[in-house]
Structure formats: C-alpha cells, structure tokens
Amino acid sequence: MNMPIPVAKPAGKKRAAGVKEQPATSIASLWRPALVQAFVKLDPRQLKRSPVMLVVELTAILTTLLCLLPDTAVPTGVAVQIALWLWFTVLFANFAEALAEGRGKARADSLKAGSQGLNAMRRKASGEFEVVAASSLRKGDVVRVVAGEMIPGDGEVIEGIAAVNEAAITGESAPVIRESGGDRSAVTGNTRLVSDWLLVKITANPGESTLDRMIALVEGAKRQKTPNEIALDILLIGLTLIFLLVVVTLQPFAHFANGSLPLVFLVALLVTLIPTTIGGLLSAIGIAGMDRLVRLNVIAKSGRAVEAAGDVHVLMLDKTGTITFGNRRCAAVHAAPGVSSKELAEGALLASLADDTAEGKSIVEYLRQLHNFNEPDAALMTPVAFSAETRLSGVDYQGRVYRKGAVDSVLAFVGQQRLDMPASLSREVDKIAQSGGTPLLVCTQGRLLGVIHLKDVVKPGIRERFVELRKLGIRTVMVTGDNPLTAAAIAAEAGVDDVLAEATPEKKLARIRQEQNDGRLVAMCGDGANDAPALAQADVGMAMNDGTQAAREAANMVDLDSDPTKLLDVVQIGKELLVTRGALTTFSIANDVAKYFAILPALFAAIYPQLGVLNIMQLASPQSAIVSAIVFNALIIVALIPLALRGVRVQAASAAHLLRRNLLIYGVGGIVVPFVGIKLIDLLLNAVHLV
C-alpha cells in the first residue's frame, strides 16, 4: 500500500482538516443564519424557483389583506391565524432550503476565503511575467507558481515538477507530485505549492473552476435543477393548477346551492390541497443531496450526473485500485526440481532486495517471514534495475547474477525454451497463471531456481458491495489489461458480473457504446488521458483528481480523493436523491385525503349540514377544523426537514421490494398520519381556546 510520506505540516493544514471534519458544522450552528435566510427568501423573485411556494406566498398576502375586511362568517381571530400559518408555511420551506444550503456554504465559504485577493504571475506575450489578480485570469493564460504560493486557478502543468499540497480541496495533507506531461499534470486552484516551481496553463475561466462548481451545486439560487426535478416540478405545477380550478369553481357551485363560501376558507382549502410538503422541500432535498456528494469529496459538474448515477445499469470498474489494491503481492514460492526451498528463498530474496516496487517489497516481506536470513550488506550488491529491454531486475552479488522477471524474459535470459523447462515447474507456472496470478521466474547463474507467485489482492468488503449492487440490479464489469485467464480468476474472486479483459481505451469505449445501444446507462471512472473519450461517452464518468486534465474535463465528476471505489457511493447518493423526492411527493399527495375530510364538512356546514357525516375525525368546529388542517400542513414541513436533509436510505433490494416498502411507509403512512395529526392539533387548539 502506498503510505503517504510524512512531511512537515503546511500552513493550510489546519483549516483543511477543519473542513474535512464536516460534522462540526452541525445543524445547531447553522439554524441561526438559516432563520435569517428564511425571511430573505420571501422575496418573490427568489421564490419564483419554487412555484408551489410562490402560490402559497400569494395566498398568504391575499389572506393578510382579507383579515382587514371583516367577514361575518369568519371571526377575525381565525382569519389572522390562517394568514399567520400561511406565512409560516412559506417560512418553514425557506428555512429548510437555507439549512440545506448552509451546510454546503460553510465549506464553500472557507474555500472562497482562500482565494480572496490572490495574485498571480502571468506570462506576457513578451515572455516576461507580470503580477495580476487571480480573478482576472482567463483560459489559456500561463502563470508561474513557486514554492509557498497558491496556484491561482485550475490548470495544466506545462513545465516543471513540484509537490503540491491539495489539502484545501481534498482534505488530504500529504503533498502530491505534479509534473508536466504524463498522467499527473492537472492542478487545482487554491492549492499550495510546497516545493520547486511550476508553469501552469490556466484551463478554466473565472466562475468555471472546480471551486465555483462546488459552490454552485449547493446554492439554491444558482443551482441548476436536475432533469427529474424539472419533471417533478411540472407535475407539481400541474397539480397546483388542478386544485386551483377545483377551489375556484367551488364558489359558483356553492352559489348554485344558494350558499356562499368564505374566501379565507377557500384559500385555506387551496393551500392544504396543493403539494406544499414536497413543493417546500424539493429544493432542500436537491441541495442536501449535492452536499452529501461534496462531503464525500466528489465534485459533480452538474446535478444531472448525480441523478444519472442513480439510474446506472452497468458499472465499469478498473480492476487496479478499485477492485484490487493497486499492486500485486507475493503469495507463494515454488522451487524447481532439485532446488531446495532454502536455496530458492535466498535467490528470490537477493533478486528482490534492490527492487523498490511494491511487488518487490512484498516478496522480501514474504520471504523474511518464511526464513531467517543473514542478509548481505546492501553496499556489496550491485542492483540491476528493471529496464524495458531486458524486463528483468535483480542484483549482482559476489560475482553471482540473481535475476527475476516474467517467464518469457527469464527464459530468454537463461537461453532456454519454454519446452526445456522442467515439467513440474512448467505446470506450476501454468497453475499460477490460470489462477489469475503472475508467475515470476527466479534464476541465478543460468539456472532456474523456481517461481514466485504474485497475486492481485482483492480489497476486503468489495465482494459484499457487488452483491448489494446486484440486488439493486446493477451489473459490474471489471476492466483490466490482464489476459482473459487472469482476469477471469480475479473476477471470480471479487464476484463481478462480467469482465473486459485485455482492455484498451478503444475497447472500453466500444463496450460503453454497446451497452448504451442496448439502452443501458454506464458509469465508469478513469484518470489517464486515453480514458477521456470513454469518460465523455459514459453517462456517469468520474475522473480522479490526480489524473490528467483531459480526463478531468471529459468526466462529469471529479473525485478529489482519487478513490475509484467512491463510484459506488455516488450511485447510492443518486438513488437516495430520487427516492427522497418520490417518497415526499407520494406522502404529500396522500395527505390530501385527510385534509378533505377535515375541510369539506367544515366548508359546506352552512349549505348542507348533513355533510357533517364526513367529519370522521370529529373535529370540534368548522373553524378549528380548517385551522388544524392548515397548521398541520405547515408543521409537517418542519417535521420532514431532517428526512429531506438526510435522505431516505436505499436498501440493497429489488425494485419490487423497495416499492412495496416505500409505498407502505410514505403512501399508506401519508394517508394515516394527517388524520392523527389534524385531530391532535384540533384537540390542542380547542384546549387552549385558540378557536
């Protein structure tokens, strides 16, 4: 495993760590500013984004005005209460949104603070550098950054190599190396250089940087609505229109029956019928979902991608780093015939001592546990590093040549054919290859000593995650450059559904297209420049932050921690987002049944007293019935804020199971809860003589 190299703690560390520990910004510290925001958001220009709540605000204004016109049918006290609760309904919804924003904003603000007043050294056409404000940098500008300075914007390294502390963005304090060319050339704005210097070509205009995107996702007023949210919005507007027609036409129908309905009561009926619960919480749900993503350290370029993640049918996962630890480890050694195990172990140890790769280290580690060696002094050995030509590594020690390497390379080195190999050793090599491992031959002085079994180690717990995904109907495809045999063995061990072996970027892209042609949605992650086309083609493409700029631009999400396993969490968040919206919509509409039973008998009491039969909740009086319904309607928003912010958990289960469970809780519950709630409020209102 790649352990971070300990370094001196940079200045940014403290703040960054504070950011990482998100729970510190708890609801408790956020509710005060959210309360203020709830009033600020009463501005109709802001409320316009939530049409249902705009209607409630308009009715609140209307009812407030009606309070000034005395109506014999409605005591002013009751009218004032209704008006007040209508205002509360809007305020509660605003409060929910502000609360959701607050959590994301707290983090965004701390990031923003870092970029205030930042300067940059921009290269002029003449090649000289000038000092400009970081905020004035445009795409294509080239800036020079030296140790201790902040990188002024997202960009690509075009010259130099340096260690960069990205704690401000990722929360990870170990600096990472950034250099021109290759797969580690992308840098993020507001990260600090801790060594050397870099020439960076800026790749984002102001307002388009990673930081800006992060802020935009969690700010209600700027946030782009996601496709499902738009569709749901249309439905809510439609329902609002229908109920508007229902309520507006009631008056002429009442006149037909020689009666008249008090305007205040009609307004109350309208507001209780229109889907205020989901209308009021919709925005908060969306923001909270994005905030959960941000807290995972994943930046989505749009909410659309997050929703798409919930819809994904196929996950294309790179074997290395996602399913297995990034490197193979020594699992066993097998001696050639006529070679003692001690002899092999010594040979293998010597051939690996100078090998700095994780694989080499794992061999040394393994052998040291097996035997007690008198290890030779490092100074006496002449290390031979791996080279592309020989494809071997090892040492020369006391005139003896110790080498290890891939089967073909070693055979070539000792001048043998595969057929010349001792049969038992050959069988062992085949067995290792078939089991998905990598056989390394060890030789000394032209003689084969044996074979080392290197094995990919599947990450613990990953198999269980795949089982969960399968229950949700998501197929996992392991992508690997290994040969089909090796790939199949790892696949079986990890429990993936399918394998794309000997994968090239072209094959990967073709596979994604094929899945998409079959109507499936594909998610994948990648980091290399050659992953860019596939990342762009995939419905959900997650790039690693330490990857190339090309990959980061092609993807619709960037994982700041560069942990590909997070794709699974993103799918989960996408699903939770959709389920939460669906659950509250169902709940909201189901609530209307009880509200009708509360309000209709009260409304028509003067025209048809017989309709009192419908007052199955036995509410005390028409006034108390209507006020109770409107109070319930407002309070239920507050009661559901925690659920909206936390999101409904999605269990790993089939669609039918999820549907049955959620219909029971939010559908049947949505019908029952208001009957109880309205009755309780009615009892309370009458107990304190408010109506």
Partner: protein, 564 residues
C-alpha cells in the same frame, strides 16, 4: 337479487372476458397488417381503398403528420355531418319529412358524433332523417371509434418501438380498424338484433290506432345496423330517443345481454392487443385487473344502492323492493344497474333506463366512472390510451421511490412526458369544473335543470361530465337543447376528445424516439398485485381529489339529505 340476476352478471362477464384475449390478438395482427383468416375476403377491399385514396400503405408518419391527418379527417367528418344535419330537409331518405336541425343543435350533434361522445340533445325519431342517421351518424359511429383505435395503436407503437421516428400511417390504421376491427363484428351483431326483432327498414313510420282509438305513429328505420355499431363502437347515440330502453332498440332479454356485452368487448380486447405490441401479456393482465377492480367497486356500490329501500317511503304500510321508477320492468333492477355502470365505465353512453332516477349513490358511481376519464375499459382505443396515461402517472409518482428515473417498459418518463401528462390531467377539470361553473353561474343555462337543490346540481354536473368524458349518456331531466348548452357541451366534447388525443400522440412520438432500457429486476414492476393496487389507488386518488368537493355538493349531499 334473484338467481336470474346473478346469471345475467355471470353471462355478461363470460361474454366479455372469454373472447377478449383472442380478439385482442386478432386486432394486433390486423393493425400490424399480418395475415388473418379474414385477409382473403377483406384484403382486396383494403388494397382497393388504398389505391382509390392514393395511399402508400408502407409509408410511415411522424406523430405530427399522424396528428395532422387525424385532425383533417375529423374536421372533414364534422363539416360533412354538420351540413347533412342542417340540410336534411332537402335531402332524400326523409320519409317523416323532418326539417334541418337548428345550427347550434347541428353543431352539437356533429361534434358529438365526431368525438365518439354521442351526446344527444335531440330525439332521433323526432329530428333526424334516415339519411342523416345512416350517412351522417352511423358513418361517424364507425370512424370515430376507428380514430380512437388508431390513436391507441400509435401509442402502443410509441411504447414498443425503440429510437423510432414514426408511429405508423393514420390512413392505413383507420382503414384496417374500420374494415377488420368494426365491420365484421357489427354485421354479426346487427343480424343477431334483427333476429331478436330490431327493425331494419327504409319504410315509413307505421301508423296504428290504439285501443282507445287514438292515432299512434310508430317510428321505424334502419335501426339494427346503427345499434350494432352504437354498442360495439362505444358510441351510444340511440336510433330512438330513449335509446336502448326502447322496445325496438332493445327488444328482448337476449338483445339486452348482447348489447350490454358489446359495450366493453372491444375495449377489453384492446388491452390484450397492447400486450401483444409490447410483447408482454402480463402488462395486459395487470391493466385488465385494475379495470375490473374499479368496475366491480362501482358495480357493487351501484347494486347495493339500488336495492336499498327508499327512506322517504319508510312506512310499515309500504312494501318496498328495489325501486323501478325510470327502469324498464322488462329488464329489472340488476340488468339496468349493470348497464348504467357499464355504459359509463366504457364511454358508451347508451342507456336502458333513466340515470336521473337512480339512487344518488348509483348516480354517483356513473359520474365517477366518467370523471376518472373513461378509463375503466373506456371507449374503443380511448379507454386504454386514457388508462395508459394513468399508468404513466402512477409510474412517475411512485417510480422515483425505487431510486431510478421513472421508466415504463424501459421508456424513461422525463419533463416532456410529464408536461403532456399534465395537459391530459387538466382536461376533465377544465371540461367539468370550469365549463360547469360557467353554466352554473348564469341564470339562463341554470333553467335547464328540472330539480332544485343537490339533485339539480347532479343533473348539471352529469351533463358536463358526460360531454367532457365523451360518454354521451344523459342523466335525464336536463333540458340540454338550448343554444348555450349546445355550444358549451360541444366545446366540452372537443376538449375531452382532442385534449387527450393530441397529447397522447405527442407522447407516443416522444416515447418512440427514446431508447428502451432493458427491463429487469431493477425496473419498476408494472405487473402483479402491487402495481394493480397502486394503479387503482392512483386513479381513485387523482379523480377523487379533483371531484370530491363537487360530488359532495351533488350526489353525496342528496344521498345524506334523503336520509339513507
């Protein structure tokens, strides 16, 4: 209820449910141009029609072209019928020498038949000539039903096809629907009805002298042919004023049973046609189960209500059975109630008794059947496309709860689809509530109501519901033939017809263009008891939430006031 009543109910369901799967498959084959046993006979006729009309049967249309063709065809049908009704006095086949209709009545009648509503503000024998009946009304009976079928198959194709730009050819669909779908069945039913005693003649009205010595004119006419399509095409416009309560229109118990079954035979069969289109008959069974559940809830409520003793006659001296006022004693309570439920569930609108005389709750069942948008079997084609809209609404509402963008049979429901769904959701509220409220608040139109209070309100509500739902049945007791109501109800019928057809075609077009996601374990399950329950509750909830307040002022208030 007697054993005879149960036998009627059982026979009715057997006549409908047993042949429906077979007939549904037949319709699928016919509409997709596959060979059936009728092809040798009708194939040449079909090809002849295309040649005559210059239609290339293989040319497919986009939804816009399909809709345009449909609108043009319906407009032409309207103009023709409107002209015939205005000018019938000058046209042949008019033995009773009936004058042309007044223009608002002609407008209302023409719209009514073009939209498959068959609301009748006129009385057939008193104001429509034989020519108008045959060339005008019967032709529209056929083509309006065929139009509904065409729209349905367009929607079926939209759901079944993947990444497609076209929905079929309107002219071809119309030809096939009429030729194979309606004509053969109508021929059979008409022959059966003639056997049972329904007249089919061009002879003049018969004159008779009654026992009291009074002169009586007995209207006749080519009735059997029109009654067959009236029932099978879910039209409902009677040849005679009192519709299937008339002894010439519905002479015997057998004619009653077969006419009754004919009302929903094709609508039920088409649900199976849909299953063949999407290659999954489980979908059909789920939808039929939901329709049946709604039908049975309504039917049971109605029957129960009609067999209740009337509280106003609660007197030990009065012995009460089920009330027969407004019913044909030939048919009795059960057969009348069954008809009232069936005719309003399917947007037929023919009656064999007077709905005005039903107990308030059975009257409400008739109203609710229509208010939910005529989706409980519903009109030919129209019923199922209406039901599919409800399916989509249910899927969208609950679909999010499985953590995916809602999908129906692999088709994603997105903003565009929801927009179109919302338009169709607004049709009934606009037609019933808005138009009804306008009528209810003007003193002139209100005078059409013949009863005071809640019952009077039910009469008005029923008229606007019947028109907007394209049902066409009349509650009775509502003087509909006034210029105001003729025009307003005509408007209601147009909104109720094209307010669905155009969004449905647009929806079909939009769905056809989409890719189809594989349907599997993680797809929203749209079959099985859970979905049937969800769909049933969604329909009742959407309909109930929209219309409960108005129903409270009408039948519910009346029911409670009567002391039931």
């Amino acid at each position: 209820m007697h054993s005879y009543d149960y036998a009627v109910i059982l026979a009715f369901f057997a006549l409908v449910l047993l042949p429906a799967p077979w007939l549904g498959r037949f319709y699928y084959k016919v509409m997709e141009g596959q060979r059936t046993w009728l092809t040798p006979v009708l194939g040449p006729v079909e090809r002849g029609c295309y040649r005559l009309a210059g239609v290339d049967a293989r040319e497919e249309q986009s939804w816009q072209k399909y809709a345009l063709a449909l609108l043009a065809f319906n407009l032409a049908g309207f103009v023709l019928l409107f002209a015939v009704l205005l000018l019938q006095g000058y046209l042949p086949l008019n033995p009773a020498q009936l004058p042309g209709q007044e223009w608002t009545l002609a407008f209302n009648t023409a719209v009514s038949f073009v939209t498959n509503t068959n609301w009748q503000a006129y009385s057939g024998e008193a104001s429509v000539s034989y020519l108008s009946q045959m060339v005008g009304l019967t032709v529209q009976n056929f083509v309006s039903a065929a139009t509904g079928l065409a729209v349905l198959v367009a929607l079926c194709r939209g759901i079944a096809r993947r990444s497609a730009a076209t929905l079929g050819n309107f002219w071809v669909d119309m030809t096939r629907a009429t030729l194979y779908g309606l004509l053969p069945l109508c021929l059979l039913l008409a022959l059966f009805l003639v056997w049972q005693g329904v007249p089919q003649t061009f002879a003049q009205y018969a004159h008779a002298v009654t026992l009291q010595g009074a002169d009586q004119v007995i209207p006749l006419g080519p009735a059997a042919s029109q009654i067959a399509i009236k029932q099978l095409g879910t039209n409902g416009g009677g040849f005679f004023g009192v519709n299937s309560a008339h002894p010439f229109e519905n002479p015997t118990a057998w004619s009653n049973l077969f006419e009754l079954a004919s009302i929903i035979l094709i609508p039920v069969a088409l649900v199976f046609t849909f299953g063949h289109y999407v290659k999954d008959l489980r979908q059909s069974r789920a939808i039929v189960a939901c329709m049946l559940a709604l039908f049975l809830i309504g039917g049971a409520t109605s029957l129960w209500a009609e067999y209740q003793p009337n509280p106003s006659l609660n007197n030990p001296m009065v012995e009460q059975t089920a009330p027969l006022e407004g019913k044909e004693s030939r048919f009795g309570t059960t057969a009348t109630v069954l008809w009232s439920v069936t005719t309003t569930a399917a947007s037929n609108g023919s009656v064999n008794g007077m709905h005005d005389s039903l107990n308030p709750l059975s009257g409400m069942v008739a109203l609710v059947n229509m208010m939910v948008g005529e989706v409980i079997f519903g009109g030919v084609g129209a019923g199922l496309y209406g039901m599919l809209l409800n399916v989509l609404i249910a899927v969208f509402l609950a679909g999010l709860m499985i953590g995916r963008t809602p999908e129906y049979l692999g088709k994603k429901l997105q903003a565009r689809e929801v927009q179109l769904l919302v338009v169709t959701l607004l049709v009934m509220p606009v037609g019933v509530l808005v138009l009804g409220a306008i009528a209810a608040s003007l003193p002139g139109p209100v005078a059409a109501v013949s009863n005071p209070g809640a019952h009077g309100f039910s009469q008005l509500l029923y008229a606007y519901t019947s028109a907007s739902a394209n049902n066409g049945s009349a509650f009775g007791g509502f003087g509909a033939n006034t210029p105001f109501h003729n025009l307003m109800l005509g408007l209601g019928m147009l909104i109720g017809r094209f307010g669905y057809i155009l969004p449905v075609l647009a929806l079909a077009g939009s769905l056809a263009m989409k890719k189809t996601a594989p349907v599997g374990q993680n797809s929203f399950p749209t079959h099985g008891p859970l979905f049937v329950t969800l769909l049933t509750v969604t329909i009742l909830l959407v309909g109930g939430l929209t219309f409960l307040p108005t129903l409270a002022l009408g039948p519910i208030a009346e029911h409670l006031s009567m002391g039931f």
